[in-house]
Amino acid sequence: MKIKMKRTILSLMIVTISMMGFAQKKTTTSATIAFDASTAIDNLPKAENKTAIAAIDPAKNTIQFEAAIKNFAFANPRIQEHFNQKGWMNSDEFPKATFNGIITNSSAVNFKKDGTYTVAVEGDLTIKGKTQKVNTAATIVVVGNTLKTSATFSVKLADFDIDGSPVSAGKVSREPKITVSAELN
């Protein structure tokens, strides 16, 4: 009788711990955010930030990203310099970009079951102090207690008050493509 009781308690503990693992907020400090604003006449304006912070809360169905603007790495030093200047990202005054979103079709993903799920995400993207709504499809891969997520969407530079002669000259795309990917534990 005692042994049976111990087994039941142990099983309950294992289930509870597993459930806690699934329900816990998953984070990473090494998410990748890439943007590509290159055009047919200029291949330079594209960069990657590999030290973005990302979080997914399976209990609340929230998705968050946070990236230091100055840590977007460009191949070309001059473009890197221009990118951070006042006329563009003004990274001294606005040092980070953030995204706070929610999975709108939460029934499309089962965080407790391994698999690949396509979800709809809606949220607020804040760049250079301006906040805009973003709607995008995202992929979430559940592998045990690890979540892998990725999404690609476009933003309009004008929505974030980013403009300049390189944009009107066609050297920088008016709607850069943004790709995010993260492995969260």
Binding site: T27, T28, T51, I53, A55, E66, A68, P77
Partner: protein, 162 residues
């Protein structure tokens, strides 16, 4: 200027000389412009390993400087080449690359180093507990609303010694 004017001008030795001079200087300016454009357009960042270090710091006191006043610390360190002595607390894959972290165990705030392509193999050899000097371009330190701690990012890093 019509064709006759141009013909007359080309016949005049003085005008011919001016035209020749204009043509040569115009072409030279064009060539210089093209050369300058290609210099800047094809330029890439120098290898961090060969760059002069602006500051050499210890990881934990360095983190504490940002925690104390990140604006003051950013003015001093942002976009500077810094050699950081410290203990690796985590290695994190980011796509095909590897980031190295040095964290303050008391506050949770951390330094994170993204590596230059040619130095990625050095980063991949590091493991938690390693005592290293990592040199990189300090981007800045900011407060994370998600984690509730400060993080200081580095780009184009290289391992100074291991």
């Amino acid at each position: 200027m019509n064709q006759i004017d141009l013909y007359v001008m080309l016949k005049d030795p003085k005008s011919k000389k001016i035209l020749k001079w204009l043509l040569i200087s115009g072409s030279s300016l064009l060539l210089i412009g093209i050369a300058v454009y290609f210099y800047y357009a094809t330029r890439t960042h120098e290898d961090t390993a060969g760059l002069k270090v602006d500051y050499t710091v210890e990881a934990i006191p360095f983190i504490k400087e940002f925690e104390k006043d990140y604006k003051v610390a950013n003015k001093k360190y942002a976009e500077k080449i810094i050699a950081v002595k410290g203990i690796v607390t985590a290695t994190e894959p980011a796509d095909t690359t590897m980031n190295i972290k040095m964290s303050d165990s008391t506050s949770g705030s951390y330094l994170i180093f993204a590596f230059q392509d040619q130095h990625m193999s050095e980063a991949k050899k590091l493991k938690p507990g390693d005592n290293v000097v990592i040199k990189g371009s300090c981007s800045d330190g900011i407060y994370s609303e998600i984690l509730g701690i400060y993080f200081i990012s580095f780009k184009r890093s290289t391992v100074e010694n291991n």
